[in-house]
């Protein structure tokens, strides 16, 4: 619990009275009052800027920096625990004796691959685009039985499946905000299927319905399943009676299913390519891959950051900082690599000052805004150029085996305040730009101030490469945004 009663330095004892207005479990209350503080976990991250600046001076030793950091210290502290876990797991493994371990391992790997590829095929076949026309009432489907854990490995290729009859299907209303933009063929569907189930009642009076194979005991019930639980569709269709409420009618329907199955053990599956006319390329590829299994491995490299710098001419092979590296050394308030690339590609040179300012605002705005208005044409064009550059930088990092998610990185640049900053640069008043966007005033002011910092650093960078026009442009930009209430030192005007 934070805060305490009493005057600092004077009272050594204080009384706190807690007014509780809702039911609290005793352990929770105890944790609130006597619990320990949040543990301090280091989030140390060595940025490219720091790395380049270290390489600049002769004594710079980034590895030493990493080794002596708190992050490393905590990682070292965690080693004995990890070692204990390793020992326990090793003992467990040694105690399990498996014959012919190598062959078995290969077989198991192959099975896993096969399963994942089958799942890919299933996803394609059962995407609503293709299978909706075939989800007619009366069609026999093959379902997965519930109670199959994905975690426990099974050593057979056959899944536990059962059969049922489609009654109806429905579209699922999801709660995400993008619902309006989703096309009908992309949303989720549930299918009502009549099949054999076992109903059990839990202690808390919740019904648990399990789907079991047809031949086992249970009742015929109509359950809703999502499309992902359907393994295959059959080309056979039954005539359904209109009323399915009476138990005998349902039993009869299931008996008919059993009969069809006994006559055609495979269940007459629908041929995906022939009947359902699935032509997509990805489907064909996946099918081919099922025939040719491959293994993928991932490596985890931690300190490979300098390599990626070398690849793109920031640093020569002797670790001497080159021109691009010197520019990146100056920039510390924003993403240095992307900004340097943008500068060297001449993107910042031809555009007008206000447009340049709004483009740079994408670097300083890290929050995610819902329903942001799309910026106007020219600004959008610039933003897409920025995204291309960012994607290239991320791909380069990926090639040098740095763990980075390309799309995540690219989408970290948000265009939400481009319009507002453009208006501010053009000379609007602050209340006018607040009407354009819905962000908090403080966030916008913070962003504009940070933008001014980035511009100052860019002035230094332009000076170091000798580009006087660009330097003058940046200085003009600073003078355009540094005015009025945003940069007022004190609000007591």
């Amino acid at each position: 619990m934070s805060g305490r009663a009493g005057r600092r330095g004077i009272d050594d004892r204080g009384i706190c009275i807690l007014m509780v207005d809702e039911k609290l479990e005793p352990p929770t209350a105890k944790m609130m009052l006597k619990g320990s503080a949040d543990s301090l976990n280091s989030a140390f991250h060595l940025s490219y800027n720091m790395l380049l600046n270290q390489m600049r001076c002769e004594d710079g030793d980034p590895e030493n920096l990493l080794r002596n950091s708190f992050y490393q210290f905590q990682a070292d502290r965690a080693i004995p625990d990890l070692e204990k876990q390793v020992k326990v797991l090793e003992e467990e493994r040694d105690s399990m004796i498996i014959e012919e371990e190598d062959n078995l391992k290969n077989y198991y790997d192959l099975i896993q691959q096969y399963k994942s590829l089958k799942k890919d095929v299933c996803d394609i076949v059962f995407s609503p685009k293709y299978c909706l026309p075939f989800l007619q009432a009366g069609r026999i489907v093959c379902l997965q039985c519930t109670g199959i854990n994905e975690s426990s490995p099974s050593f057979s290729i056959e899944d536990k499946v059962t059969w049922g009859v489609i009654i109806n299907f429905d579209r699922v209303k999801s709660f995400s905000e993008d619902d309006a933009s989703r096309k009908p063929e992309d949303s989720n569907y549930t299918v009502d299927v009549l099949t054999r189930c076992v109903v059990s009642r839990d202690g808390i009076a919740k019904k648990n319905i399990k789907i079991v194979p047809l031949k086992e005991s249970g009742e015929p019930l109509v359950v809703s399943v999502s499309i992902s639980e359907i393994t295959s569709l059959s080309s056979a269709r039954l005539y359904l009676s209109k009323d399915l409420l009476p138990l005998e009618v349902r039993e009869n329907t299931l008996k008919k299913v059993l009969e069809i199955l006994s006559r055609n053990p495979t269940g007459l599956p629908l041929d995906p390519e022939g009947d359902m006319k699935i032509q997509s390329n990805s489907y064909k590829k996946a099918v081919r891959r099922i025939e040719a299994l491959e293994h993928l491995f991932e490596k985890h490299e931690i300190a490979n950051l300098p390599l990626s710098s070398k690849n793109s001419k920031y640093v020569t092979s002797d670790d001497v900082v080159e021109l691009k590296g010197k520019v990146a050394c100056e920039i510390s308030s924003a993403d240095e690599l992307t900004l340097t690339e943008l500068m060297f590609n001449g993107v910042l040179k031809d555009i007008k000052v206000e447009e340049m300012i709004s483009l740079l605002s994408c670097f300083v705005w890290q929050e995610k805004l819902q329903d942001a208005a799309k910026p106007r044409e020219e600004l959008d064009l610039l933003f897409s150029q920025l995204q291309d550059t960012a994607r290239r930088v991320a791909k380069l990092q990926l090639e040098c085996k740095v763990q980075i998610d390309v799309e995540n990185f690219v989408s970290s640049f948000r265009p939400d305040i481009m319009e507002a900053v453009y208006a501010w640069a053009k000379g609007s008043k602050f209340y006018e730009i607040m009407e354009i966007t819905q962000v908090f005033e403080g966030s916008l002011i913070r962003a504009i101030r940070r933008l001014e910092e980035v511009l100052q650093q860019l002035i230094q960078a332009a000076k170091s490469i000798g580009e006087t026009e660009l330097e003058a442009k940046f200085e003009e930009a600073v003078s355009k945004i540094k005015r009025d209430i945003v940069f007022a030192a004190s609000l007591y005007l």
Binding site: E58, V320, L323, F344, N345, G466
Partner: protein, 304 residues
């Protein structure tokens, strides 16, 4: 290559010519299109937005070079890198300089630049090694640390507003340099490398390649405690020290120092870029002969 101010006799001149031709044939891969002289137009495609860097200017809508050199392109940036120029300092460069003035709370150093560099008192380690504010007493004792005409090695910290350099000598390996020779070479011969401090173990010689063209060759010192010693007993130690300087450097080390220094001189006259390997090779080559002018002719055949 500038004219070599040597009196060479006929055979030596012929040998020099042969060596130069050999060197040129090796370097013919260099793209001769890239080299420009003053007022040459730099070829660019006008549709791209070109960033104009150092050594370029715009004239009548064309990009024109303002210095003689090689055109370099980095993405959209075009600039001209001059082959021979004044010393152009960067942040993080190692500099060797000579004290010309002891001013208020700073030393002024001459470093082969258009202005004197400044070494602040606060950028220098105190003799007792404690980190504290510099007081007036420290200021009065500045002369005990460095005096006029002392040779110092330091690192560039940043540029001041008027373009002059500010240096710092915070680490143990920077500081006063004693017991050795200071050489001056054209600054463009010293390229920026990973390491500028070299310790030649087998000869016991320290070699510091300052980026400003000042090179120091001297006896090897492990740690620069000279300042600490001086603070203790001023007068007596100073007397003893001056005699110690000439006694303690063994003859062999002094010979090595002179040999290395001559190797550097020769290489700089011939226009070679100074790196550790080249200097060591010249040194080894000259060990088979005597020191002196004769050595210079031998290095003609020395193609690196």
């Amino acid at each position: 290559m500038r004219e070599i101010q040597l009196s060479l006799n006929q055979t030596q001149k012929i040998r020099l010519q042969k060596a130069l031709q050999k060197l040129e044939s090796l370097h013919s891969k260099v793209n001769s299109d890239a080299s420009v002289t003053v007022a040459d137009t730099i070829p660019i495609s006008l549709e791209d937005s070109i960033l104009k860097g150092h050594g370029t200017a715009e004239r009548n809508g064309e990009v024109v070079a303002t210095v003689c050199g090689v055109v370099e392109r980095v993405n959209m940036l075009v600039y001209v890198r001059s082959l021979r120029s004044r010393f152009k300092p960067e942040i993080g460069d190692i500099i060797v300089g000579r004290v010309v003035e002891v001013a208020q709370k700073r030393w002024k150093l001459e470093i082969n630049f258009n202005q004197d560099a400044v070494l602040m008192l606060s950028s220098m380690n105190l003799p007792d090694g404690i980190q504290r504010r510099r007081t007036a007493v420290d200021e009065l004792n500045m002369r005990n640390v460095f005096e006029e005409n002392d040779v110092i090695c330091a690192e560039v910290r940043n540029f001041q507003n008027d373009g002059s350099l500010q240096l710092q000598a915070r680490s143990q390996k920077y500081g006063k340099l004693e017991k050795g020779q200071l050489l001056t070479v054209p600054p463009y011969l010293v390229k920026r490398q990973k390491q500028h401090f070299h310790h030649l173990v087998q000869y016991g010689v320290d070699l510091i390649l300052g980026c400003n063209g000042f090179i120091w060759v001297g006896e090897h010192c492990d740690a620069r405690d000279t300042v600490a010693e001086e603070q203790l007993n001023n007068t007596e130690e100073q007397n003893i020290k001056s005699t110690r300087v000439s006694e303690n450097v063994p003859l062999e080390t002094r010979r090595n120092i002179c040999r290395v220094a001559n190797a550097v001189r020769v290489l700089s006259t011939l226009g070679f870029s100074l790196t550790l390997e080249v200097i060591l090779e010249a040194f080894n080559l000259s060990s088979t002969l005597n020191l002196g002018i004769d050595e210079m002719l031998v290095s003609e055949f020395h193609v690196w």
